[in-house]
C-alpha cells in the first residue's frame, strides 16, 4: 500500500523516466533482433554512445563546440547590448514606439534566415557571417521583451521617484531596470533558440568547422552514430539552457510574462 502511495506521489517523474528508458531500450533491441537495419539509414543507442565517447575523448567535439560557441557568444552579446536599450527606449518614448514598432515587428515576423546566403557571401565563411546572423535573429526577442517590460513598469513607482526629485537616470536605474529583469530572462530564452538556428544554418551553409558543420559532414559521409551523438549533444545543451532559463523566469516572476514571436 505504501508503495502505491509513493508511486502516486511521484507518478510524473516515474512515468517520464520509464518512457525515456523504454524508448531507448526498444530502439536498441528492436534494431538488433526484429528488423535488420541498414547502417546507412539508422543506428542504435549503443553505437551512438560509443561514438559520443570517441568524440569527447578524441576532443573533436570540443573543438567544434568552441568554434560555434564563439560565434554564438559574440552575436548574442551584441544582441543584448543593442536589443535591451532599443527596447527600453521604445517602451519609454511613445513616439519611438510608434516609429520603430512596425518596422521591427515586420522583421521579427519574417524568416530572416533567408538572408543567410547573402550574409555569408558578404562576410565570408568565417566567424563574422555567423555572428551577424546570430545577432539578427537574437536581437528582436530582447527588443520586444525589454519593450514589454518597460510597458509593464508600475507608473506609481515612476511617480514616486519623480516626486522625490529623481532624475530620468534614476527612473531608468531604480525602477525600469529591476522591473524588466524577468522579461530579459524570457527574452534570453527565446533568443537562445533563435541564436542556435543562426549558428547551425550558417554552418550548414558554409563552414569548415563548428557543430553545425560537424552534423552535416557526418550526414554527408554516412557516419550515423557520430551524427546522432552530435545532435544529442546539441539537444542536451538546448534543453539545459532553455529549461534553466524557464526555471529562472519562474523564480524571478511567478506570474506569466514574456513576449514571444510576433
Amino acid at each position: 500500500m505504501a508503495l502505491r502511495d509513493r508511486y502516486y506521489e511521484h507518478q510524473r517523474p516515474i512515468l517520464g523516466t520509464v518512457s525515456v528508458i523504454g524508448f531507448f531500450l526498444l530502439w536498441e533491441w528492436q534494431l538488433t533482433s526484429v528488423v535488420t537495419v541498414d547502417p546507412f539509414f539508422l543506428t542504435q543507442p549503443s553505437k551512438i554512445a560509443a561514438a559520443a565517447k570517441e568524440l569527447f575523448l578524441g576532443g573533436a567535439i570540443w573543438q567544434d563546440l568552441a568554434v560555434s560557441s564563439k560565434a554564438f557568444l559574440w552575436g548574442f552579446s551584441a544582441a543584448i547590448i543593442v536589443g535591451i536599450p532599443t527596447g527600453v527606449f521604445m517602451g519609454w518614448r511613445r513616439r519611438a514606439e510608434y516609429t520603430l514598432d512596425p518596422f521591427f515587428t515586420a522583421l521579427y515576423a519574417s524568416p530572416l534566415v533567408a538572408l543567410a546566403p547573402l550574409l555569408i557571401i558578404i562576410f565570408g565563411v568565417g566567424l563574422t557571417g555567423k555572428v551577424v546572423l546570430v545577432f539578427l535573429l537574437a536581437v528582436f526577442p530582447f527588443i520586444f521583451n525589454a519593450f514589454a517590460g518597460v510597458k509593464s513598469t508600475d507608473r506609481l513607482l515612476v511617480n514616486v521617484v519623480r516626486s522625490f526629485g529623481g532624475k530620468e537616470k534614476d527612473i531608468y536605474w531604480k525602477v525600469i531596470l529591476p522591473s524588466i529583469l524577468p522579461y530579459m530572462v524570457a527574452g534570453a530564452r527565446i533568443a537562445i533558440g533563435r541564436g542556435i538556428v543562426g549558428i547551425i544554418v550558417g554552418e550548414f551553409y558554409a563552414a569548415s568547422e563548428g557543430i553545425g558543420f560537424a552534423i552535416s559532414r557526418f550526414g554527408d559521409t554516412y557516419r550515423l552514430p557520430e551524427m546522432f551523438a552530435t545532435i544529442l549533444v546539441l539537444m542536451i545543451l538546448a534543453v539545459v539552457f532553455t529549461e534553466g532559463l524557464r526555471k529562472l523566469e519562474n523564480v524571478l516572476a511567478p506570474w506569466k510574462i514574456g513576449q514571444e514571436a510576433r
Binding site: 513616439r95 524568416p111 534566415v113 553545425g212 538546448a238 539552457f241 532553455t242
Partner: protein, 266 residues
C-alpha cells in the same frame, strides 16, 4: 492648420511607423546616388527599384512561378500534417495524465531544440526531393501546435467539465462540447507560431537540399552574386509571413475577445 494637426494626432502611430519604413526604403534607394560605392561593396549592393524590376522580370519570364509552387506545396503539406498530428496528440495529452507524463520529456526536449538540426538526417532519410522539406516543415510546426493545444485543454474550466460529466457526458462528448471550444484560441496561437516555423523549414530546407523552390532560388542567386534576386526571394518570404501572421492574428483577436488572459506561447 488646425485640421492638419488633428489629422496628424489621430493617425500619429500610422504616420510615424509608415513614414519610418518609407524613409528607410528611400535612404536605401538613394545610397548609390549620394556616395560612390567601392567595387567590393557595389558587387553586393542593390536598390529597391532594382529588386522590383528583377521581380517583374522573373514573373514575366515565368522563372519564379515553379519555385513558388514547390515551396507552397512543401509549406502546405507540411503544415497540414503538423495540424493532423499536433492537434489530436495535444488533446489526448491534455486529457490523459499518464500519456502526458510519458510523452512530456520528449516534447520538452524536441521543443527546446531548434528542429533544423535534424535537417541533414532528414535529407539522408528522405533524399533531396520534396519529402525531406515536408518533414522538416512538419517537425518544425508540430510542436507549437501540440503544446498550445495541450495548454488549451489544461486550462479548461473544471466546473464546466464537471457539469457535462454530471449530466452523463462521456469523454468524447466532453471533448466536443467543452474542451475543444475552449482550446480554440490557444490552437490559433499555436497555428501562428507554427506558420513561422514552417516558413523557416521551407527556407532552410531548400538552401541545402533542393533543386527548386524559393529557398533554392535565394541560395543559388547568392552564389552567383545576383543580390537583387536574393532580395526578391527574401521579400516574398517576408510578405508571406506578414500576411499569414496578420490573418491568424485577426482570427486570434476575434476568438479571444471574451478571454482576458492570453494564451500561452512557446
Amino acid at each position: 492648420m488646425r485640421t492638419l494637426a488633428n489629422f496628424y494626432r489621430e493617425r500619429e502611430p500610422a504616420i510615424l511607423g509608415g513614414g519610418f519604413i518609407l524613409l528607410l526604403i528611400l535612404a536605401w534607394q538613394s545610397v548609390p546616388a549620394l556616395v560612390s560605392l567601392p567595387k567590393g561593396i557595389s558587387l553586393f549592393f542593390t536598390t529597391p527599384v532594382e529588386v522590383i524590376q528583377t521581380f517583374h522580370q522573373l514573373v514575366v519570364k515565368n522563372q519564379i512561378q515553379s519555385h513558388f509552387y514547390v515551396s507552397a506545396v512543401e509549406f502546405i503539406v507540411g503544415l497540414a500534417l503538423a495540424i493532423l498530428v499536433g492537434l489530436p496528440l495535444g488533446l489526448v495529452m491534455g486529457r490523459s495524465k499518464t500519456l502526458d507524463a510519458m510523452l512530456d520529456p520528449f516534447v520538452t526536449a524536441f521543443n527546446a531544440t531548434p528542429r533544423l538540426i535534424f535537417l541533414p538526417l532528414l535529407i539522408l532519410w528522405f533524399g533531396i526531393g520534396i519529402w525531406s522539406k515536408i518533414t522538416i516543415v512538419f517537425v518544425g510546426a508540430v510542436f507549437p501546435l501540440l503544446i498550445n493545444t495541450y495548454e488549451g485543454v489544461r486550462n479548461v474550466d473544471r466546473v464546466l467539465v464537471n457539469v457535462v460529466r454530471s449530466f452523463g457526458a462521456n469523454e468524447w462528448q466532453t471533448m466536443k462540447t467543452v474542451v475543444l471550444p475552449n482550446s480554440v484560441p490557444y490552437i490559433v496561437v499555436g497555428l501562428r507560431l507554427a506558420i513561422g516555423r514552417a516558413l523557416l523549414g521551407v527556407v532552410v530546407g531548400e538552401f541545402f537540399a533542393a533543386s527548386r523552390g524559393l529557398g533554392y532560388m535565394i541560395a543559388n542567386a547568392a552564389t552567383n552574386y545576383k543580390v537583387d534576386v536574393v532580395f526578391v526571394g527574401v521579400t516574398i518570404f517576408m510578405a508571406l509571413s506578414l500576411i499569414l501572421t496578420y490573418f491568424v492574428k485577426k482570427l486570434e483577436s476575434r476568438l479571444s475577445r471574451w478571454r482576458p488572459e492570453t494564451a500561452k506561447n512557446y
